[in-house]
């Protein structure tokens, strides 16, 4: 457990010292959301109706963009090789990196979501739903992302391939994530589905990703 915490702490410290990365991602997230009104016109009623979908697409794109950083730096400087021979299994390492990556890429988006809520004329109840759906749904995106990042880690030009590979698998997250917003109180089956997808993918993906990392390193 302390080894897992150490890996999470290391990734967070590295990100903090390099700086700017999380902020750039938040900027991208807000800009995608802010570009939509230019494309469809600043009609407040229409925007409020589309807002949950727009926020999800913005989060989706931001998270796919950040995928390459999951293992790339560790592969380049050789620390991935050391982590493969660490005392804890590679699956646990991937799980730790999953948590760190989620804290670095998904949590800032949730924190920045009030900006989009204001820009897209969301009311407060919808915003609360959106934050809950993002909090519950984004771990699944990160978890599936570990597979995409792991299978492309040994490719020099793997940047675009990882999103293309995992995007089809992420579609259920998008479907239930949007459906969970604005559903009536107490009967939110979509929210439960979203939680289930998240739990299953977080539990399962580290194994697939670790297998891919082992194969890539051979």
């Amino acid at each position: 457990m302390s080894a897992i915490l150490a890996i999470i702490g290391r990734d967070l410290r590295l990100a903090a010292r390099l700086g700017g990365d999380a902020l750039t991602l938040v900027l991208f997230f807000v800009m995608v959301g802010a570009v939509v009104p230019f494309a469809i016109g600043p009609d407040r009623v229409l925007l409020a109706q589309l807002a949950p979908g727009i926020v999800w697409i913005a989060a989706f794109l931001s998270m796919l963009l950040g995928l390459d950083r999951l293992f790339r730096a560790d592969e380049d400087d050789g620390s991935l090789l050391l982590l493969r021979h660490a005392a804890i299994p590679l699956e646990a390492v991937v799980a730790a990196k999953l948590v760190a990556h989620w804290l670095l890429t998904a949590l800032p988006l949730v924190v920045a979501s009030p900006i989009l809520a204001v820009l897209l004329a969301m009311d407060q109840a919808t915003w609360v739903d959106t934050v809950l759906a993002l909090l519950v749904g984004t771990p699944a995106l990160t978890a599936l992302g570990t597979i995409g990042a792991a299978v492309t880690v040994s490719l020099k030009r793997g940047g675009l391939l990882a999103p293309v590979l995992i995007l089809p698998l992420c579609i259920p997250v998008l479907i239930f994530g949007v459906a969970a917003i604005g559903a009536p109180e107490g009967s939110n089956a979509a929210f439960l589905f979203l939680s289930a997808i998240s739990l299953v993918s977080v539990a399962f993906c580290p194994f697939a990703a670790a297998l891919a990392l082992r194969v890539s390193g051979e």
Partner: protein, 255 residues
């Protein structure tokens, strides 16, 4: 004594699946398979167009599309099933022939999926009034096409085909989640596409005169896949031999 004769004899499965013996036993199969495919196509189309009714109440005069659309849709999933099994062969037994089988199947599966979507949208226009509807089965088949294309892109991104095979196998196993979704989509979401009508608890839900040509076409298309798959696997094995020979020649030239 550790010479070859004292080694345990490999079982029939290993011998059958060795790339060298595969080249030997598959060679005489290609022409008979192609002939059987052609005969089934002729028989299926003849029965479909001249012996079976050309119209039914619910689809009108577009009925013959059934004989093209259903086999392609079936193969879009069958080929993925074959790739799924091959992925196991690659990961569990590290079988070189499984690598080749998976690689040769991916473009075929993508083609059948495109044809299924294409004939489906041609069929949807006159019967449903739209080329495309975001219905459960169509959406999940479209996702299947994206998975196929991603897998093909992944194959092409690697230079080392041995490593590629194992990486692609992992992706294939993960993407396999889409196949049960396609199968049960018509039961889970009550939508436009009609529910299962061939394999049901009460037998096929269509007239025997329509079912017979459909069955012939299903068999014909499946044999078409087998023929193309074997030819494509043979090509891939030969391509790898050429590659390794030219590498050896280059190494000799450099030495």
């Amino acid at each position: 004594m550790t010479d070859l004769a004292s080694q345990p004899k490999p079982n029939w499965f290993s011998r059958l699946a060795h790339p060298g013996s595969f080249m030997a036993w598959s060679r005489p199969l290609v022409v008979p398979l192609a002939v059987a495919t052609a005969l089934l196509f002729v028989a299926g189309l003849y029965v479909g167009f001249f012996r079976a009714p050309l119209e039914t109440e619910n689809v009108g005069s577009t009925l013959p599309l059934l004989y093209i659309h259903v086999p392609n849709a079936w193969l879009s999933q069958f080929v993925y099933g074959a790739m799924f099994v091959a992925a196991f062969g690659t990961l569990v037994w590290r079988h070189p022939l499984a690598d080749v089988a998976a690689k040769a199947a991916a473009p075929l599966g993508a083609t059948f999926t495109v044809l299924a979507l294409f004939t489906g949208s041609l069929w949807g226009r006159p019967t449903w009034g739209t080329f495309w509807e975001w219905d459960g089965r169509m959406t999940s088949t479209l996702i299947l096409l994206f998975i196929y294309l991603g897998i093909i892109a992944l194959w092409r991104a690697f230079e080392d085909q041995l490593k590629a095979a194992r990486i692609v196998a992992i992706v294939t196993l993960v993407g396999g989640i889409d196949i049960p979704i396609i199968k049960f989509s018509v039961d889970w979401w009550n939508t436009l596409h009609q529910p299962a009508s061939i394999i049901t608890a009460t037998g096929p839900r269509m007239a025997g005169s329509v079912f017979l040509p459909l069955l012939l076409m299903l068999l014909g298309f499946t044999l078409l896949f087998l023929t193309l798959h074997i030819v494509s696997m043979r090509t891939e094995i030969l391509r790898r031999r050429v590659d390794s020979l030219s590498r050896q020649a280059a190494a000799r030239g450099a030495a």
